[in-house]
Structures are given as C-alpha cells and as structure tokens.
Amino acid sequence: MIYGLCLLLIVVGLYGVVTKRNVVKIVISLAIMEYGINLFLVLVGYRTHGTAPILEEGMMPETLVAQSVDPLPQALVLTSIVIGLAVLALMVALCVRLYERYGTFDVTEMKKLKG
C-alpha cells in the first residue's frame, strides 16, 4: 500500500516532467520524483514496530539488530538528499539565466536549437 503511494509520487513527478511547459514546474516535478525515491529508499529499510538504530549503553548488538530498522538506507537517503539539493540548485540557476535570456519560462518558446 505505502509502496504504491510512493510509486504514485514518482509517477506524478515523471508526469510533470513530461507534460509541463514552465521550466520552474519541470524542476518542481523533478524534485517530487526525487522525494518519491527517497521515501522508497527509507521504506526498503523499514520494519514494522522497529526501533531507532541507536546502540545504547549496556545493549547487546544482537538485540539491536533484531529490533531496529535498517540504518543503511537512512544513510543513503541523506546522501541522496544532498545530491538532489545540488541538482535543484543548479537547475534553478539555469532557470534564472534562461529567463534573463529569453524573457519567458515557457520551454516551447526556447527553440534556438534545431535539427
């Protein structure tokens, strides 16, 4: 169920990338897709009623492994969020420059490249 919602989020993002004309909306759609994937990554490591993967003092590592959620995907998501931020910043900068040059955000009016 929740995996399905996550997939829905990714597909909504992809739909936006494909159909929107406004460059800012395309960037937002990419961000939505990114969030869907991050959510999916966290879900991969999730376990029902799992505890936070923190090894407390006096706790056996084995009990932690048996109880907690998988910490690795959480680390991956942090990295992926940072990468997503870098892409987002670059693309927003591109949008600003595009607006300066073309005076519009509409992709259909940006067609100096042909062939």
Binding site: I10, V23, E34, F40, L41, P73, L76, L90, L113
Partner: protein
Amino acid sequence: MMHLVPLFMAVPLAGAFLAALPNRRLPWLPDLLGNLAMTWLTVTALSMVGHSGLCAVGDWGYLGIVLRLDGLAVLMLIAINGIGLCATLFSVSYMDRYTARGRYYSLFLLMVAGMNGVVLTGDLFNLYVFMEIAAIASYALVAFGCQHEELEAAFKYAVLGSVASALILIAVAILYGLTGNLNMTAVAVRLAADTDQPATLLAVGLLLCGFALKAALVPFHAWLPDAHPSAPAPVSAMLSGVVIKALGIYVLCRLVFNVFGATAPLLLVLRTLGTVSMIVGVMLAIGQWDMKRLFAYHSISQIGYVALGIGLGTPLGIAGGLFHMVNHSVFKSLLFLNAGAVEYAAGTRDLKRLGGLRGQMPVTANTSLVASMSIAGIPPFNGFWSKLLIVMACIEAGQNWLAVAAIAVSLLTLASFLKVQRYAFFEAAKSALTGVKEVPVLMRTAMLILAALCILTSLAVLAGWREPLLIGWAADALRGGVFGGVQ
C-alpha cells in the same frame, strides 16, 4: 600500487577545490593546477598497467566501500585521464574567450573525479554518487557560455540526466531490498542464487533505461546533439570522448556482465539498441551543417558500434567493442578539438561559411584528416581495425545482417566526413577567411598528440592487438562472468 587507487578521486577533487579559490594575482594558476593534476593522473593510470586488486576504503573491511581495479578499469582510467590531459592542454589557449577560468578547471576536475570514481567503484550506491558528481559538473560545463543555446541545451541535458539518475537510484534501492547488499560482487552472488525474481527484472529494466539515457543510445539520444556542441570545445571532446562511455557504456557492460550475468535476452537488448543507434545516428548526421552537431550525431552512431560489439557476447565481439570504445574516445575528442580550433581561428563552425582552411591551418587540417579517416574506418588508421573486428565478430556469431549494417553505416560515415573535409579544408578559400591563422602552440600540441595516438594504436595492432593495447586483459575482466574479475 593499490594504495594509490583512492588518489584517482582525491587528486582531482583537491585540484577542483584549489582551482576554485578566488585569486586575482595569479591568473595562470588554474591552468597550471588543471594540467598538473591531469598529467599526474595520466602517468599514474599508465603505471597501473598489469596491476589489479581490491582497496577497501576506511577501516570497514567488507562492509565499507570497495574500490576495484581490474583490466577494464585500468583501460578506462587511461582513456579518461589521457583524453582529459589533451583537453586541458587545449583549454589553456582556448578558454581565453571565456571568463571564470578557475571555475572552469574546477568543474572539469570534478567531472574527471566523478568518472574515475565510477570506473573504480565496486559499490552500487557509490557508483550513483560518483555518477552524479560527473553529471552535475557536466551540466554546468555545457551551460558554461551562458548564451541562449548553451542554457537551453544544458537545461534539456539536466532534465533528462536527472530522470536517468532517478531511474538508476530506484533500481539501486530495489537491488538493495532484494539482496541486502550494495557490493557488486555480493549482489551478483545473491542474484545468481535466486533467479527468476520479477523484481530483479524491474531493476534490470530501470538500470538499462537509465544508463542507455546516459550513453545516448537511440531512442534515448535526444539530449546529446544539443548538449555536446554547446559546450566549450575541450568539454565537448570530454563529453563525446569519455563521459558517455564512462557513465553509460562502461557501467552497462559492468552490470550486464559482472552483476546480472550476460543472459541471452540482455545481450539481445544491447545489440538491438546498438544497431538502431548506429543506423539512426549516421542518418541524422549526414544532413548537418554545423561541424560540432555533425560530430555529435556521429557519437551516437559510433556508440552504437560499441554496444553492438559488446552485445554479441562472444570474446571477439567484446574485444572489438572495447577496442572501438578506446579508438572512438581518441578520434572523436580529436575531431571536437579540431572543430574548436576552427571556431577559434575562423569564428564560425558552419560548414557553409568555411572553406579552404588547408593552406592557413595545416596542423588542424591534417590532424582532422587523420581523425576523419579513422572514424570512417579507412585502413591505415585505428578505426579500421576495431570496425573490422566487430564485423568479423558479427559474421562469426552468425549475424550476417548486422555485419552488413555495420559496413553500410561505415560507408555513410565516410560520406559525411568527406563532406566535412571538403567544405572546411579543401575547396576554394572564402574571402571572409583570408586573415585566419593557425591556432596557438598548446592547442596544436594537443591535436598532434591525439593524431599520433590514432596512428600508433594502428601500428600496435600490427604487432598483435591483444597484448599491447590491454584489450585482451580488459575483455577478460568482463568475460570472467558473474563472479569474474577480482573478488
């Protein structure tokens, strides 16, 4: 030697940081840093020949990130850093027309660091991270001129590149969910033990789409003919020469052969994508009048050859494909440097407005003749041997029609390069171009090195092609199969 392997990422990263520091007193410092870093990387990559092994980063043992050096990785490292060195040599004079030299070298070195990382890593998520480093740097480099076309091309490239990265990340997440591991060898072992999982098929499909987008195989090629010509010439040389290979074809081969195992349907997909790109790319190239755009379409076509050769899955096919990949990175980067030199000297790269540059720019004209003959597969040059190997492999595998297609595409390639030669260098000189002079010495050096490589590889073939060119060693790393290479 293994302790030097992490430096392939660390040195360009450090160089990128230093080159980006603000400095007004020493305007030549970024040039020096860029060239020094690339020289060191090239020399070290060459010294890695014959070595292979694993390098666990940090004290995590098998749990941490593993760097894996094998034949294919060494071959790619030499190609990436060697071409990178020629491109930075060329940049010293060429980048005069742009501002922000420090940032240019910074982005360039980031791109190199990303590609070296992709080639060396043995970890799926790490692969994604390095791929993004290289990709983001290349989006910014395509937009470097900040003119209408450059921004438009960079936006298109960035959108399609991000979609590709997204698909790849989903696939990595699925593979982690299936196997509980990110190490390529461990994933391969788990997948081999547990075949026929529908989720594996989904992951494979997503990865194929993602990396085919990065490699610009038809029908995923839409961004390439815009992005590659819009970048500054040395960056175009890198993008067409090595980025599409390191981020696209190399990873595809690595995953298909060493992680999923080269099954018949996977190879069929690779072969089909390769043949279609080969034909469509050359068809679209013939009608182009912008030199760099024409070369960009040929990149699609030549990458098709590589995918076709490797997709045959036979030892001869793999060797031919890898050999063509290396050859293509040499002659295509040379062609883009030639186009940059023409643009630098004559101020245009429109073939209709060029002509008769042979007398005024002898070095550029002759090196471009060498590169054109190489890409068209004319006998004394390197492109001939690799195309011959691919055609022979097609016939050996019983795919006669593919062999016919490869030869036909080669003829069409020859036709379109004769057009370039005729309009740009032969023909009568145009009156508007009388004041054109040959380009500065560093740009000439870079072009001469690459042209010499075109001829030298061809001579090395005569001396026995497997050993001197490392192709046999690299192909063994792939053909080792699922558990192959270094464990």
